[in-house]
Symmetry: D2
Subunit: 350 residues, 4 copies
């Protein structure tokens, strides 16, 4: 059994990590850390969790040497930037779900996460944890940075295109997310009367996950993406997001070949489902068809006008976009079958 700790136990991602760890056959949950939730039991914080989990939340700064093999950080970027170097000395593997170590390029990181200062060079030691795209880098990794929810969706959607050798001259991303993506911060705009019925343009002209995507591709295949801009909207449900990437390329593309290329690229990767737009009774991808699972559904649709490629990705922002992908990365880290503890299927309708 791998002994795991979860810091940030009171948040949404923390709650999902507790749930997943509890149902994972190879994990033993040995530590919960928090700040305002210290002393509370998990089912008090997350009323859905089973009531007989035998842990209470402890101080986030507890020394975990000897208590945990791996630690998940479901904390704000500032906290992760502070805790990760400390924990790296105490446990074999630190898996950070925040944005503290996602962007390698220091200037770019500083621009989007000005408060999350991190030790020089530490970011380079983190593996970017989108398991489908980083080969075997995760095996044995001691530091893993879990991608942002939007970034996961966008990156998984674009990777088959860059793999084809296409140059993506202009990429325009429109992201739409449910309210759980905003966490539990108390703000008037987050109250139910203001979010229900809303299409809130909360990041109308720029989002840090775009910088993250950009940085990822630039480290892998510099020059592949020309410009990449993003806007993000909060819509009127709770869980699940959809990203629409409108891709303009000067390269020749064969519409029929695109679908095959996507299928080929993700062959053997069970958590990415390449789907045709009209293959089911409701159009896909739609977050409602992945909620509760670790799936990312991806659909590519060439515009019949011939001028752009539309790539749509849907995932559960708390699972494949956070806690689920974190556990998937841990499975890879420990050379377990990727789907261990993650076989739950979507809950639909919900």
């Amino acid at each position: 059994m791998i002994r795991v700790g979860i810091i940030g136990a009171g948040g949404f991602a923390g709650g999902e990590l507790i749930r997943l760890a509890d149902q994972h056959p190879e994990l033993e949950l040995t530590f919960l850390g928090g700040s305002s939730s210290v002393g509370r039991r998990p089912a008090e914080l997350h009323p859905g969790l089973r009531m007989d989990l035998g842990l209470t939340v402890e101080d986030a700064d507890t020394d975990l040497t000897g208590r945990c093999d791996a630690v998940f950080l479901a904390t704000p970027p500032e906290t992760s930037a502070r805790l990760a170097p400390v924990l790296a000395e105490q446990v074999a593997c630190v898996i950070d779900l925040s944005g503290a170590f996602r962007i390698r390029t220091p200037e770019l990181h500083h621009r989007w996460y000005p408060k999350a200062e991190r030790p020089g060079g530490l970011a380079d030691r983190f593996v970017y944890g989108v398991p489908e795209l980083v080969g075997d880098q995760l095996t044995g990794a001691s530091l893993i940075s879990v991608p942002g929810c939007y970034a996961t969706a966008i990156t998984l959607g674009l990777a088959p295109l860059t793999d084809l050798g296409l140059t993506l001259r202009t990429v325009v991303v429109d992201g739409k997310s449910g309210s759980s993506g905003s966490g539990q911060k108390l703000r008037t705009g987050g109250l139910h009367p203001y979010r229900n019925g809303a299409i809130t343009p909360y990041a109308p002209a720029g989002h840090r996950h775009a910088a993250e995507v950009r940085d990822f591709f630039d480290h892998g295949k510099p020059g592949t993406i020309g410009s990449l801009s993003m806007s993000a909207y909060g819509v009127s449900h709770v869980r699940g997001l959809l990203t629409s990437s409108y891709v303009f390329t000067d390269d020749e593309i064969d519409a029929r070949e695109l679908q095959r290329a996507y299928l080929r690229f993700y062959k053997g990767h069970r958590f990415v489902r390449v789907r045709r737009h009209n293959e089911t009774m409701i159009p896909v991808p739609d977050p409602q068809a992945v909620v509760g699972s670790n799936y990312c559904d991806v659909t590519v649709v060439p515009d019949p006008e011939g001028e752009r490629i539309v790539v749509l990705s849907a995932l559960d922002n708390l699972l494949k976009g956070a806690a689920g992908q974190a556990v998937q990365a841990l499975n890879r880290r420990y050379s377990l079958p990727e789907e261990t503890g993650l076989t739950m299927q979507p809950l639909m309708p919900t």
Copy 2:
């Protein structure tokens, strides 16, 4: 492995049964039956389901001799009334999720299900499948009738009171359910614009699940319940229901004793969680804290005015209120641990 068939594969309960059977370690799904969905693959009908389930829907009237050990009927009452006697000759166990065999008393059945005529005496051979309340009757049963979603919630809520020997002079039940309880029937009132934002009094002065509850208690402990009336409302979410039972009794009750009696009554029954109203960060029971699981959360609150007992029950109408309870009953039928294949925890927030 127990070979199971599911008839009514296209509906919501059918979809949940497929999902549960697929994740159940002791079940092998060998048959899907339907009518309008014949020839379709499960993932076409239920876009959330994994895409590589190797079955297609066949005709509901297929002879299942030798193909299935147990068959779930997720069909309308009329269909179940017709198919159950036929299937009883073909397979070892028929588990009906409809209302066709829930009410034993023929007159009462006929009043609420006038179109679901059933062979004389057949209803008496069915075990009423609320596992927590029927002792070991399910072991080896060949015919099981899964209770209605509301009926399950009400019955689990009231049973500890009747067990205390109380006479429930007057019980007033108010049921509130999400839209998945209405199934997929195409009606204008079921369209999103009419259901979103609604509190629809669809059964303002009487509901057949009240007759079912009444019938159950009268067969067990005649005279325990005086009058039991019910009203039901559709509210603005999809999955999960809450029943409020306002109980008036002339017997003496000790408020502190009530909570203990509930805890004692459900000791060892993992799917019923007896919860205090204020024990978590949001008031419970609330369907949102059970959605995706097979739990029924029950809370008893004596009115401080002393004149009534308020009993609240929350469950996922498609799981503990339908497919989950059906699998739980099947587990009991085959003497498997009750929770086999049903260990998924609530998905919250959703």
Copy 3:
């Protein structure tokens, strides 16, 4: 023109009062008061409001002598209890939307509003502002207390029964409300992820609006109501509420006569619509059919089992349940046609 002020301009009811005052042909809005919102313009606080309203919020304690003829208090009970006596010296009419002066009986008031201490005897000078039920008491009134949202619905639902001379032995009220009823208080449970999909039993065994209803009937017709208990639930939409009153009486009732009695009782009262349950394409009453209007839809359904009368009332909690009724009461106060400025019809679908 009647010069009006609104104190509590930042809240939901305050926002609705601004909107209604602005569209009212006989009102001139001359003062907005608040605390945390001082210095803000209405459209900043309520983004829907037209942007050229020429006022900014001032301190709630401003002396309004000579500036306003009437003042609406859309403030918490404690604030209203403090401000009402002061304003009574400054303006001709104070209309309080809080609970500070609704319950006349001092002991009962103290029990439910322990923090809203009010000057002895002041409550007796307030007219309880449900215009349909208080005859001409509102004409020229200097102090008006606007009933609670639930209380309005329940009282309008029960009044025709007591008018028939029936003794209502036992009344069980189940209230279901959207999230706008909780105002803008920052609480974790009020965040969208926790309220969406919820049926929250926030007042499972007692609600102060029940005490208010009780007090109203006891002052009018003592002994008419035996016991009256209430439970209240928050459901998954924003605006509108439904109350279900389950009435048990020992008196003889004629089902057909009931409907006629309701129609007769509300003849000439345009804001109460007596509706048959099945008269439209969706069952009524349903808050969705009154949202945006000052209507209260009322339906009476005798239980076919003969043992109870079900009375359902639906209204927009911010209009007929708050700001709309306040303006209606002001119209009566100034002998304007009751519907002046209140002719807007429901916005459906929404």
Copy 4:
């Protein structure tokens, strides 16, 4: 008084037209036409409407000579294409809310509305009814085509840019709409369980409203727009839409000048509100801040990266996107003040 008829009385837009006509001081509603709703009263079809409207629905093909001065067609494109030429002989003004006469270019029309064949040349006689952009063309017009809901939002958003003389090289539009935009057609995907929680990519790579926008600008200022592509999504609320137009231009733009240009362009047009993104307590534009009104809120945000201009437009799809704009156009037709009967402010929160 202008005598008006409404054909298509049973649909959502028809219901809104009835409501608006009823509250309009210069209109007299003299005819309601329909097909399946013949013989029904308005309040049966639209339970929100006041119950004493003295009309019933008649056959859509009734001769209206002498009964109506103007007729609104809230009918499918095929029906409008058939009825408009007939009605043009009977009444002074026909206002069509369908897509039958929006696109002038015959080939383009045929491609997007293949079933709505229209008499040659008739489309050229229609005035495109977006009142803010067509000067005084509406005055005295006998045939008016009301723009599509998305098209209205997009066109109002882009017009100030083309007015500046900019060439919009590439425009990428992402439209997000509530479920009322889909009307009352009975489809499984339109049921509440499937639409709630969804982000449905129902038109992922092309929408006919984009063709409409294109056609409008090409008739006004050919060459102004290079490419214009659109994708459309259904999200989890009922009323209101947002369009995001991502504009790429090679022309020099001054960020500060843009906002001023928008304000200048819409000066005096009360139904278009040019708003800064952060000017209120929630980000705007957001449909929730316009629902229930005839406003279109427009915000322009230059991307700080300098490469694109983001233009956001929000409106109520049933009002400024349909019935409200139709009445606004009629007001212009009859030289009434534009806002006559349309002064209702947004209903927020809802």
